[in-house]
Every structure is written in C-alpha cells, then in structure tokens.
Assembly symmetry: C2
C-alpha cells in the first residue's frame, strides 16, 4: 500500500533542510548568548568559517547554490512556541529557569543574521558580521550545514545498495564502540559520555540515530546527554555544555591595555559565575596557554567545579590540572575534567583507565561520535567520508582582531602580528605543536 | 505523516506469513514434480523433517501453535493466475514451454497436502505422507518455515536497536563477501554464483534483500540466478536448479531386484533426459556412492553437461569427476560442476582458484548465503543465529523404505538394515566420514 499523499508530498520538497530548528544547536551557545546579552549586548563580532583540511576543496565539492539555500533556510527559522516553552520550563544542570525572561524575550524574535559568502583557493569564505549575540549563533549551524552538504555531495554517487551498506557499516562500527564502552564501564566503575558532535556531524538524522542508540544501549548513567538542544528536547535527554574560546577571545580583543588583556580570561569567569553555578562552572584554560592561565589564576578559580583542557594531549592536560588543583589544596578526585578535543574510542579507553580514581572525567564526544564514517564507504576510497577539520571562530570584536593561542601553536588563530603580541604578553610556557586531526 | 490505514491494517494481521506463494520454492521441485507426474503419478512417498543439529531443541524453541499456523497458511495457498502465466510463458534455461500443459493444469488446482506433527525428545516429527508428486513440494517450504520460525523466536528478545544492529552486521558481512567475490572474479576470470538458499534462509525478506544486493553488486555475469521461483519472477532473475536425491532414492525403493536397484540411478537419468536437455542435464552421482556410480555408468552418462558432487570435499569430488570425464575421453574444460554442499566464501575462493581453467564451475550457494548470521547478534551469544543442519528427506515410497548412502556415511539415511543391504549391493568404495556442518 503506497501512501500516495506522502509520496507526492515528498516529491514537492524544495530542499531537504539541514537545520530544522534554531534549537538544533549547542547548549553552550545559549548559555553564552545569554551572558553576551547580559554584559555585552552592543559588541559587534565577526565569525568566520575556516577549513583547516586544505586538501579538501570545499568550494569544489559543495554547490554554492545549495549552500546558500541551506543558509537562507536557517535564516528563515524562528523559535516555535513549543521550543520557547521548553527553554523556559526545562531544567538544565538541575536548575530551573536558567534562561531568564529578558533573554527568552530576545529569543522570541531572534533570527540568524546575514552572511557573506565568497570563494577563494577552492575554499568558501563564509563570514558572519554584526551584533555578537546574534552572530555567535551561526557557529554551530554553519558548520553543521557545511559538513552535511559535503557528506551529501560525496554520497550523491552512491546507489541505493551502496547507501544501505554505508549505513550498515557505520552502525556496525558504532556498535563495536558501544560494546567497548560497556566493557570499559565495567572495568573503571564510572564512565560519563555525552555528545558534543552537532557541528561536525555526518547529518542530522545520523546524529539522532546515534543519540537514540547511545541512550538505549548505555542508559543515562553512562550516556549523560547531548549538547544538541533540539535532540535533548525531542528525545528527553539532558542538554550538556561548557563554554567556548569566543568569550576570552572577545574579552581580550576589547582589552585596552596589557593589564586588561592579562585579566580578560578571569573576567570571563567572573561574569560567568554571576549567572551560572555548580556544574556549569567549567574552566576553559587554554585560550592563551594553560600554564600561564593556571599560574596566574586567582585562588577562587580553583574552586570551580572542573576544567576542559582542549589543545594538549588529554592525558598531559589532565595531569597538569590535577597537579594544579593539588598545589592549590583542592582535592582532584572531587574535580571534573571534560575531555572533548578530538576524542575517539581509543583515547577514551586510555584516559579512563589512566585516571581511574584520580579525577572525575566527563567525555564530550564530538566528531568521532557523530561523523565516524572512516572505512565505511562500500566502494572506492573507503575513507572518502572521513571528517575534515573545519571550525567557525570569532575573528574580530568591535573592529579589533580576535586571537587564540591555545596550547598547540598549530591551532593559533588571528593576525600574525597580534598572535606575536599575545605571545609576548602571555608567554609560550607549556605550548607544544601537535598534529590537528579533527 | 502517519498513514493511519496502513498502521491499522498492520495491526490486524493474523500472522506474518513465511510462505507467501506456492512459487516460493526451488525450481528443481517443479522440474522434478513434472517428471514424477509424467512417470510416477501414482507412487506414494513420505517426506520427513530431520534436524541433524540435535543440540538445538526445535520443539523447545518454536511454538507449536505458530508452526501449525504457518503450515496451515501454506496449505491454503494456490497458484495465482499471474504465477501460472509466468510458469507457462517464462524461459527456463533458455527453453520455452519447459512446463507442459498437463503439468500446468495439475498445478492450477494444486495445494500442499496434509502434514503430521508430533514432538519427540525436544524435536518436531513433521511428516508428509501421500502422493509423491504432492508431498515432494513440502520439502523446501517446511524447511523454510522451521528455519524462519527459529530465527524469529531467537530475535523476539531483541530491542529495536538490537535488531537494527543485527541487520547492519549481517549487511556489512554480506558486503565483505561481495567484495571478495569481485576480487575473485578479477583473479580467476569467470565466476558463476547462484542462490540455492531458500530452504535454509534466515527469512524471506532477508533472502530477497540478498538477491537484490547480489544482482546489483555483481550483475548477471557473476550472479546467474536463484533457485527461488518467486524471487526469480519478482526480481527478473534466472530460475536455477538441478535435481535431488529423492529421485534415485524413490527409484531405488521401488526396485524389485538387486539388478533393478543397481540400475535405478541410471534409470533416473534416462527419464530425466526424456524431458530435459542441455544445462538441465546435471548428474547427482553420490546417492549410493559416487565411485560406484561413475565406474558402472553407461558411456552416455559422460555426455551429460555436468555433475553436482554433494557429499565429498568439493575439491576431491571435482577432481574425481575430472578424472572420470578424462578417462571417458570427454574434455573436462567443457563440463560444468555445480558445487552446492555447504559452500562458504572460503571454499568458493579455494575451489575457484584450484580449478581455474580445468573445469567450468557453478556455485549453488545455500545456507551460508541466505542464513549467515554467525557473529551478528549484538549482545549475548554472537553466534545464536548460526544455522542448523535441518533437512527434509523422502523416507519411504509405496510403503518401502527409502535409503541414501552418500559419500559421507554420516549423511546416510534410512533404516539401519536397509542401509546395510544397500552398502552390500553398491559397496562403500570412496566413502569417507566428514563432519556435517550445514
């Protein structure tokens, strides 16, 4: 029995949307947007997409018209009544009404701002300029659009059977990882995994499949939630998130003096703590070098619940934090380390075993959770769908360049002379070049 | 958009039928049935199901009510007008009108005869007694019912996710085999695979998926067809088949003297050749021992197109045939050997390489094609769905016991004293015990 109405409806689709809802974004974009609205409502900030995998020429792979259609579609979205009610009524990190009435009123009329799209050297130059609180929201969604369009372009040549096998391979691969996580949980006693993979996902439906699979197979004790607000709402999962480099980067860009610049990373935390408490107080220490950040941090920073090392080897980064908490007289076993930088099943196993009993670890599993199609293509290059390292970063605020140093010099962003200036001010202690995989 | 009509209809299903059509059976059952109708229309023959995998207690695993429902459902089936037109109008082995008008008239009113079902020692005793031409048709369908009911019983405990993973694993496994077959084809130049897996299939829908996958991925040059008449019709594939032990077994059972008994296997071929020619003339030499059969065969037997060794190691069995054809002055490279006894991807590779250029080989891939779920169960015993060795064999004809010796004494069937008598008459030259896997 063919449902003719469904069939005809499907054939009249104008496009298969990648972003179906403004909630299809990360929790931390909302918590940061609220902070920006509260403290910096008038700052302008430009975000720019950057494909670090230069060997993949995105402008050749992705049709510009399709890219514009998807970006335009996202720009036409508004929060629905049901979504706003969920934002207002849902509990986040155990707290009610985390999003205040002013902020919710702002979201009621929110739309994604305009974009600028050009091509250069086989890459798209995609920029979002304007009010920081608005442009910040493009980060996750522009990345999700670009990543899914690339996957679609690659899959366009596949037959129905090949697609069937592709997803069979990917599901079999996902299941192998789930089995390893179960064994790991039994071995180390406690294992907390959450999904940070919205921006780099293979596709929305695949992310949804993965969330349902993890929820079903691991349960809430191990699979603690997703950063994706829409999936959290639809599937009844916890929304999870920390905060991003854009906060210290913009605060630093706005600094008028070297002293203000040095103080910027801690001012972020002060502002954050005025809105968020408990498990939302997670330090992101690496923006201008973790070592400098920790050495100069006021004592109260060590009272925060945890930290997210983001550009060092996860074991080294975590050991450094444990040493720091200990040196500050805090008990590391009470602290939470969020590992979210290119984690895969191997590094999850390795770190979970290594730190068993020494510190609490929460894994924010991103690219290798929601876009792990390496080896899955049935014919030709089995790795054709391997993910690329594409980011969307703030590049300027109020007309002043935004800089990130990170612990890995290869991940530094900003104009060369500004990077040099920041390096002079913050130093380069503890920085070490490491290949950027995802 | 939920199609409410479909949903409500689905919920009113009385049963999910395993046999959907009387055509859902093997081609050779039809070619044999036509022969039986022509030469032995009044012979009675009893078929009996036998599960050789005693460790699997089918009567514990399969609900008797469900088994009866499926058997009764099959008994209610009649050939549809469309099916009869296909049988009359389709070309089989390149020949038109292979099924004569008398036989088609017989099929018009054909129904599967009654069955007897009891339990003993944790196994079902399932017997079909009556007119040979009618009872013969139960072989494939009773096996398909029992195998699929067992699979369903095992899968009943699986969650939706586990089922999803189960089939993902099975598809990934199937694809690995397809890739190996492509490589093998490139290596050996010619590779002919057909499906003989109806009786032992995991399920009808899975067999259908596999046929579509093989047709799509290998094309008609490598995937030459299926024994399943319904799938051949529905998917536009060639229907493929040889002939079975029941012919020499019944002919032998009816023999009145030792001389008639010794002549029985060759009388089968004489009758067969009165109806079928060319590629349908495939010897099945092992019923009472291949060596005896070949040594005593009249010279014209060596003119037949090929042979199907069925109970020796495939390499040994094929070498023996090549030697025999050579000794008879026939060119083995013009002959066709059908390998169909428990073949898997390893033995296909091994034999295709071994016999490259020495003889034509056609693979009749059965159990390990349509029921290869070893290692696929997502949780618990990964091999829980590994196939069992269940057969449905003729046990008596006109009240006289039917016997098969085969080249493997472990596969001999019949009453002990009758087996002994047959062994005295045919000898045991060349027989060797080998484990029966499927």
């Amino acid at each position: 029995m063919v449902d003719i109405a469904t069939r005809v409806y499907n054939h009249t689709w104008k496009l298969d949307p990648i972003i179906r809802s403004l909630l299809d974004s990360d929790y931390y974009k909302f918590s940061m947007q609220q902070l920006i609205r509260r403290f910096y409502p008038d700052v302008t900030a430009t975000f720019a997409l950057n494909n670090r995998t230069k060997s993949v020429r995105l402008a050749d792979d992705i049709d510009e018209r399709e890219l514009r259609e998807q970006l335009d579609h996202a720009r036409n979205l508004k929060f629905t009544q049901r979504e706003l009610i969920w934002l207002a009524g849902n509990t986040f990190y155990g707290r009610e009404r985390i999003f205040g009435p002013d902020y919710l009123a702002y979201l009621k009329d929110f739309r994604l701002p305009d974009y600028e799209l050009t091509k250069r050297d086989g890459q798209y130059e995609l920029r979002f300029a304007g009010n920081w609180a608005a442009t910040t929201m493009w980060e996750v969604q522009s990345l999700a659009i670009v990543n899914e369009l690339r996957a679609r372009a690659i899959m366009r040549t596949l037959s129905k059977l090949e697609l069937d096998i592709l997803y069979a391979n990917a599901k079999a691969k996902a299941w192998d990882k789930i089995k390893r996580l179960r064994v790991l949980k039994d071995e180390v006693g406690s294992l907390k995994i959450s999904d940070f993979g919205t921006r780099r996902r293979h596709g929305y439906l695949w992310q949804q499949w993965m969330m349902e699979a993890l929820a079903d197979a691991l349960g809430p004790e191990v699979f603690t939630g997703t950063s994706n607000m829409k999936l959290a709402m639809d599937l009844g999962l916890e929304a999870i998130g920390t905060n991003a480099h854009e906060l210290p980067m913009v605060y630093a860009a706005l600094a008028q003096t070297d002293a203000e610049l040095l103080a910027a990373p801690y001012r972020v935390l002060e502002d954050w703590a005025r809105i968020y408490d408990q498990n939302m107080r997670i330090i992101l220490p690496d923006c201008f070098g973790t070592e400098h950040f920790l050495v100069h941090a006021p004592d109260w920073v060590a009272d925060w619940t945890g930290a997210r090392p983001d550009s060092k080897d996860p074991t080294e980064g975590t050991e450094e934090l444990i040493r720091w908490w200990s040196s500050k007289g805090r008990d590391p076993t009470k602290k939470l380390v969020i590992l979210s930088d290119g984690m895969d099943i191997d590094s999850i196993e390795q770190t979970a075993r290594h730190f068993k009993g020494r510190v609490r670890i929460g894994y924010g599993w991103g690219t290798n959770l929601t876009n792990d199609f390496k080896g899955c293509m049935p014919n030709g290059d089995a790795d054709a769908l391997a993910p690329i390292s594409v980011v969307c970063k703030v590049v300027e605020a109020n007309g002043r360049p935004a800089v990130k140093l990170s612990d890995n010099p290869l991940k530094a962003t900003g104009p060369k002379d500004e990077i040099e200036r920041y390096r002079r001010i913050f130093g380069i202690a503890g920085m070490k070049a490491q290949p950027v995989v995802v």
